[in-house]
């Protein structure tokens, strides 16, 4: 098992290295970051000064080495716009994006698990067809469109939910971790909890749309596979009540591949929040990156890319290890 862990960790490191290298390549793709950073009116002297200051005039391999070393210590330089360390700015936005992704994921699970299981156990009935059709439609809809339409109906027309942001102006965010919903719940601060929840509802539904549709179909097919297996028939033949067959026997075995998929979905959610954040003005990494784009603020973009890639790789690593732990065939295979 130890060898397996070591091998997977080494793999993960290689991947991270590759990603950072790609970031570097992209940065230097059109040749001149310095030129891009300066306004039209800048003089040749300003240009030279900037190049020296940023270190762009040193030979490429040296720049690359320096870049990689800095990346390893999470130093991506200062934001061109805000003049503070880029990574620090990005990290400050992590809680917002994380909370959004996690709530979206939970909602997706809440929808997918019961519907998927019921669909599988009531195969080819109206319920099944209805659920699968909805899932298909859900996978065909652009989620930002859904977000806008929900916003239109619930925020603008019906005025039931807030339009944007994480909290209503004026409400104190007494949350050390930055996770407003969860901390509000844990600290029993109902004002915070209610306000944060209302704000997160539409964005989470939007972000989680594709995942919930996909997960529903996956849960259903996974359950169907398992329900057809011999050991399930044996359990039924033994006279076990149906609910026990489903929950105890079938679910556990369907669960293993599902866990991997869930991990991947979560990773995808984290990377895919840009659109949702833009629509709902959610102050997370995605929105930060969009703004950085307008300002040609490369350090921020790089730091964000690196961080998200790191998280994705980390989640995959954890999922693989959990999978290996659950399914002994993988370890020795």
């Amino acid at each position: 098992m130890l060898r397996f862990i070591a091998a997977r960790c080494a793999q993960a490191l290689v991947v991270l290295f590759g990603i950072t290298a790609i970031c570097f390549v992209i940065l230097h793709l059109t040749g001149d970051p310095a030129a891009l950073m300066l306004p039209e009116s800048a003089s040749q002297k300003d240009y030279q000064e900037l190049r020296e200051r940023m270190g762009f005039d040193r030979p490429l391999p040296e720049q690359f080495a320096g870049y990689m070393v800095n990346a390893a210590s999470l130093d991506f330089g200062n934001s061109y716009h805000q003049h503070r360390p880029a990574m620090a700015i990005v990290l400050a936005r992590v809680p917002a994006t994380f909370e959004l992704a996690i709530v979206a994921f939970l909602i997706a699970l809440l929808i997918a698990l019961p519907i998927g299981i019921v669909s599988a156990t009531h195969r080819n009935t109206v319920v099944d067809y209805g659920a699968m059709s909805s899932a298909l439609v859900g996978q065909s809809m652009p989620n930002f469109w859904l977000g806008l339409m929900l916003m239109l109906v619930f925020s603008l027309w019906l005025d039931l939910l807030p339009v944007s942001g994480r909290l209503t102006y004026g409400i104190e965010a007494q949350a050390a971790t930055g996770f407003y919903v969860f901390e509000g719940l844990l600290r029993l601060n109902w004002t915070l909890f209610k306000d944060a929840s209302l704000h997160i509802l539409l964005p989470a539904l939007t972000a989680g749309l594709y995942s919930s549709a996909r997960l529903t179909r996956l849960v259903r097919s996974s359950m169907l596979d398992v329900l057809g297996e011999d050991y399930v028939r044996t359990a039924r033949a033994k006279g076990l009540p149906e609910w026990k067959v489903v929950n105890v026997h079938a679910l556990k075995n369907a669960g293993i591949p599902l866990i991997t998929l869930c991990g991947i979905e979560l990773g995808l959610l984290l990377g895919g929040t840009v659109v949702t954040e833009t629509v709902f003005a959610w102050p997370g990494i995605g929105m930060l990156t969009m703004q950085a784009l307008q300002n040609n603020d490369f350090p921020i973009i790089q730091a964000a890319v690196f961080l998200l890639a790191f998280i994705f790789v980390f989640i995959n690593l954890v999922v693989d290890l959990v999978y290996a732990w659950l399914d002994p065939r993988i370890r020795y295979g």
Binding site: L16, L136, N143, F144, V274
Partner: protein, 296 residues
């Protein structure tokens, strides 16, 4: 694992495929709609009622089914903020969507199949390198990948296609690699070796046709996603340049006018949904059709 008989796109298979399609109602509808959209895209110039680029600002932000005395237009879906006929813009925008998604899927398929077969067939270090490449591309957060490229080069059509192709080839590669590994063990590959066939011949004649079916399945799964991703990029303004109408772009425009002119955001989104739904329905049928042919 073997599917049997001719490949689905070889002529001898058409008749059987057509019969199956006719039986599957959902897919038939999807196919018809998709065909209609393709026709619409091809004949956009003749079908669009008005010039999609003509800006008539004082006729802007008027709802569906409005008749204008000034320009004499009867706009079915309303006008956007610059007074352009929404319906015409949506019709024109279908071209971009179809071109981009089709090209991206084909290019990524090509890259993915080649690399997947190479990794599966030649094994060892070729395999190791390919799989690390796959891991790297998978982990790269997609939208940020697009953002970083666009930050440097600015939005453009080829860039969008390239970015999406780069994102998707990995799925093909993984699946094709798995299929190649399985095929490699089959006796008919050993037989080809025993006959004295060259490596190239074995790969092209024996391996490739037997791994294409999973690749086709992947393609059908991803066309829809590619359309959604392209529209998301255009919505954010980092996709196709704004001068060309795209469904996502029109949606993006509509965002600022959600309260006053919701139709600008509503109709393009509807168009996207209908297109992707048809593609998915058709894709589902293609997958179901290919599946039972296993071990015929």
């Amino acid at each position: 694992m073997a599917e049997a008989g001719p490949l689905p796109f070889q002529p001898s298979a058409f008749v059987e495929a057509w019969g199956s399609l006719r039986r599957h109602k959902g897919a038939l509808i999807g196919a018809v709609i998709l065909l209609a959209i393709i026709v619409m895209a091809l004949c956009a110039q003749w079908i669009a009622p008005y010039d999609p680029f003509a800006q008539i600002p004082w006729e802007g932000r008027r709802g569906p089914l409005t008749h204008f005395d000034g320009s004499g237009r009867f706009v079915l879906l309303g006008t956007d903020h610059l007074g352009r006929d929404l319906l015409s813009r949506i019709i024109y925008a279908s071209r971009v969507t179809l071109i981009v998604s089709f090209t991206a899927v084909v290019i990524s398929g090509f890259i993915g199949v080649v690399l997947g077969v190479a990794a599966g067939y030649y094994g060892r270090w070729v395999d190791a390198v390919c799989m690390r490449l796959v891991d790297i591309f998978l982990a790269f957060p997609f939208e940020l990948l697009a953002l970083s490229v666009v930050a440097v080069t600015g939005p453009s059509l080829p860039v969008v296609v390239a970015v999406m192709a780069l994102r998707i080839w990995v799925v093909y590669a993984r699946v094709v690699r798995g299929a190649t590994l399985a095929v490699k063990e089959q006796d008919y590959v050993q037989a080809a070796i025993a006959l004295g066939a060259s490596q190239l011949r074995i790969v092209l004649v024996h391996v490739l046709p037997n791994v294409l079916t999973p690749a086709i399945v992947i393609a059908t799964l991803y066309v829809g996603r590619v359309i959604l991703i392209e529209s998301a990029l255009s919505f954010l303004g980092i996709g196709v340049p704004a001068s060309t109408p795209t469904w996502g772009g029109i949606l993006g425009d509509g965002r600022s006018y959600l309260d006053t002119a919701w139709w600008i955001a509503f109709f393009p989104g509807l168009a996207i949904m209908i297109t992707v739904l048809s593609v998915n329905l058709l894709g589902d049928w293609v997958r179901d059709y290919l599946d039972p042919r296993i071990q015929a």
